[in-house]
């Protein structure tokens, strides 16, 4: 018998034995179900998410669990391995709901699996809180049972436009007088990011002077940069995953192109500070969460407290990824909803979740009609002295933004 088969068989045996016990335990336990990547290409990210989920569940249970209608319940998560494939996620969710009787669902890792999961939860009218799927397309399908803790992709660079407007006003300039030069990779994520920027620019009446789309295998953006150089925009924006960030940082320096505000996505994964050092100084980079943010809640304390506690429990995290933090936030969202629902009924919980208005260490949580979190902004970090420092929105800033950006010197 191969190990996988053996494990399955053992699992089945254990389940059949545990069945009566489980129904007994159900008296004072709420089971959340999740089909999530334990193996496959998202196994690392899936571990991050599970660490975040488990950490929050343990913390809540240690503090006495959740009170629903005057009765205390412990939380428990039932995981299945979706092998990082969306089709498997959907299958396993059916199983969680139909066979295991799970009434409350936690999201998988990644936009792909989440996209596969949502139709299933929708079909069975089971609410799902997800923390790891950012694609905007998740929230244009009219799903009623999907709620996301994180900010969606169109919010990645829009705060840069807000920041530019704020700084312009401070300088006594009209935000409408600003020009934007930008280029985005021709893929769903970056085009989502672009949509957010276009909407924000429209709001302020800013002019988009350069608006290029980069093919995936384009490694030279000097033509776009020449245009930017000619038009001298006040804001330069690029989004093209790791390659886009690397190419933009390198060629901007080489061609002497800069602007008072320069922002890129994927700075961290492109290792800008390590690869380019001084040349990357002053670049703005969006992130979902940072430990220096001044968010807090009663469960974990401040973002920094969470960071420390997490690192104590998991010393392997030298820098706690935001994927971990937002998974913990998803548990907090569930706990808050259970408390307010006073009844463990999926329909009641859906309506209660929709009205969530919660401060967490991860940021404020408030869902719009489509279920995405509009309560917290993406925050911007600026590379200052080779470190990522939160500089915007202003009320969360650890340091003031260096503005205008000083173009790198030879």
């Amino acid at each position: 018998m191969r190990p996988a088969h053996f494990r399955m068989a053992a699992l089945a045996a254990a389940l059949s034995l545990a069945a009566p016990a489980a129904s007994l335990a159900a008296e004072n336990t709420i089971v959340l179900g999740s089909a999530i990547s334990i193996t496959g290409k998202y196994s690392q990210e899936g571990k991050n998410a599970r660490d975040g989920y488990d950490f929050a569940v343990k913390k809540i249970n240690d503090m006495g669990g959740v009170k629903v209608g005057g009765k205390s319940y412990k939380l428990e998560i039932k995981y299945y391995d979706d092998e990082s494939t969306p089709a498997r996620t959907a299958q396993l969710l059916e199983r969680l709901i139909n066979q295991d009787g799970v009434k409350f669902v936690l999201g998988p890792y990644g936009s792909g699996p989440t996209k596969a999961a949502a139709p299933v939860t929708e079909k069975y009218k089971i609410p799902m809180v997800e923390a790891e799927g950012a694609s905007r397309s998740l929230f244009t399908q009219g799903y009623r049972y999907l709620f996301a803790a994180l900010s969606t992709s169109e919010q990645y660079l829009a705060p840069v436009v807000d920041l530019a407007a704020e700084l312009a006003k401070k300088d006594g300039k009209k935000p409408g007088s600003l020009k934007i030069g930008m280029a985005f990779e021709n893929d769903p994520f970056s085009l989502d990011v672009r949509d957010g920027v276009v909407a924000a620019a429209k709001k302020y009446g800013m002019k988009i002077a350069v608006d290029d789309k980069m093919p995936r295998d384009l490694s030279d953006i000097s033509a776009t940069l020449t245009k930017i150089k000619a038009l001298k925009p006040d804001v330069i924006l690029f989004s093209g995953h790791t390659k886009g960030a690397t190419t933009a940082a390198r060629q901007m320096k080489e061609m002497g192109v800069s602007a008072p505000i320069v922002a890129l996505t994927h700075c961290e994964s492109a290792k800008l500070t390590e690869q380019f050092g001084a040349e990357a100084e002053g670049i703005l980079c969006p992130t979902q969460w940072a430990e220096t943010l001044k968010y807090q809640d009663r469960l974990f304390g401040t973002a920094m407290d969470y960071n420390k506690a997490m690192q104590a429990a998991h010393p392997e995290y030298k820098q706690v990824p935001y994927q971990v933090a937002q998974a913990s936030a998803a548990i907090e969202i569930w706990a808050d909803a259970f408390t307010r629902a006073k009844k463990l009924d999926p329909q009641v919980l859906r309506d209660v979740l929709a009205k969530t208005d919660l401060d967490t260490f991860y940021g404020h949580i408030k869902f719009d009609k489509s279920g995405k979190n509009i309560g917290k902004p993406m925050v911007l970090r600026q590379i200052q002295n080779a470190k990522y420092v939160v500089v915007a929105p202003t009320k969360y800033a650890a340091e003031p933004v260096v503005y205008p950006r000083k173009p790198p010197q030879d």
Partner: protein, 300 residues
């Protein structure tokens, strides 16, 4: 589009910038296309792994840089190493497909491309990497126009390598043997040319040229195990447009393509840069077809 044309009309100086960037881009394409044309012309093998040999060269350059060798200096040992590697590839693989039909050699080199990509991915990881030349940039016209020294150097190197190749093929005994084999392998064999050696040498020279191009690519753009395809595609476009056996035409086509890409990127936007490349190829092929037709008609 009109906005961009207006910029060019109002400040013609930016044309200079586009030309400078385009020529330096084209020079690197020229190297890669040059190797492809050589192998294609002599052995008849259309090497789909051309771009991946470029990436391999770049990564060897990275390794050299890690041991403190300046990338410009590293070009020489990288090219030498790639020469040996090319020879080995010929003996292990290319030799076996040379006599077979087109699809076998296409499949074989496609397989080589995948193998190289995955090997690089295993060895160096999927991170996007860059090589540092450490050179500054040359400013012209009060800083309105500038070009990095590394691009100037790359341009010079490409011209030197191309010139050396032309001289080698025209003047040396081995070069003559290569040209003879390209013309008619059987006749060459009858006259005592060791065609097997010529094939091996051609493939090895191609690998060396690609390796040198790879180090330059690393200094100007970025390296990643799966980014070789962009260079393969352009090399094919250039060679198809320029025709085989006409090395100066290959260089001209490459430089022209570089400049055309810059202009289309500037005027139409980056999203049309590659469309321009393929569109140009289409126009050239149609035009050539028309010329041939007219010749045929004239002959009849």
């Amino acid at each position: 589009m009109w906005d961009s044309l207006q910029i060019l009309a109002a400040a013609p100086i930016f044309n200079v910038q586009l030309w400078l960037n385009g020529l330096s881009v084209g020079a690197v394409f020229a190297l890669v296309a040059y190797g492809l044309a050589l192998v294609w012309g002599v052995t008849g093998v259309k090497n789909l792994a051309q771009g991946d040999l470029v990436m391999l060269g770049g990564y060897l350059g990275l390794e050299a840089a890690r041991h403190g060798v300046h990338p410009i200096v590293a070009i020489v040992p990288v090219a030498a190493l790639m020469f040996l590697l090319g020879w080995a590839l010929y003996v292990l693989m290319i030799r076996r497909v040379i006599q077979l039909d087109l699809f076998t050699s296409l499949l074989a080199t496609f397989g080589l491309a995948i193998t190289l990509q995955q090997a690089l991915n295993l060895a160096f990881g999927p991170d996007v990497r860059t090589l540092k030349s450490g050179f500054g940039r040359l400013e012209l016209f009060d800083g309105t126009i500038d070009i990095t020294w590394i691009r100037v150097i790359a341009f010079g190197l490409c011209i030197v390598v191309a010139g050396a190749m032309v001289l080698f093929l025209r003047k040396s005994r081995l070069g003559q043997a290569i040209r003879a084999t390209a013309q008619d392998p059987r006749a060459a064999r009858v006259l005592g040319v060791d065609t097997d050696l010529v094939y091996a040498l051609t493939f090895a020279i191609n690998a060396a040229v690609c390796g040198a191009a790879g180090v330059i690519v690393g200094m100007i753009w970025v390296l990643q195990p799966f980014y070789g395809i962009a260079y393969s595609v352009r090399a094919f476009v250039i060679v198809t447009a320029a025709g085989l056996g006409n090395l100066p035409a290959v260089i001209l086509a490459a430089l022209g393509l570089g400049v055309a890409e810059q202009y289309s990127g500037f005027v139409l936007g980056a999203q049309f840069q590659q469309a321009t490349v393929v569109g140009l190829l289409l126009v050239i092929l149609v035009w050539r077809q028309a010329l041939l037709r007219r010749q045929r008609l004239a002959l009849q």
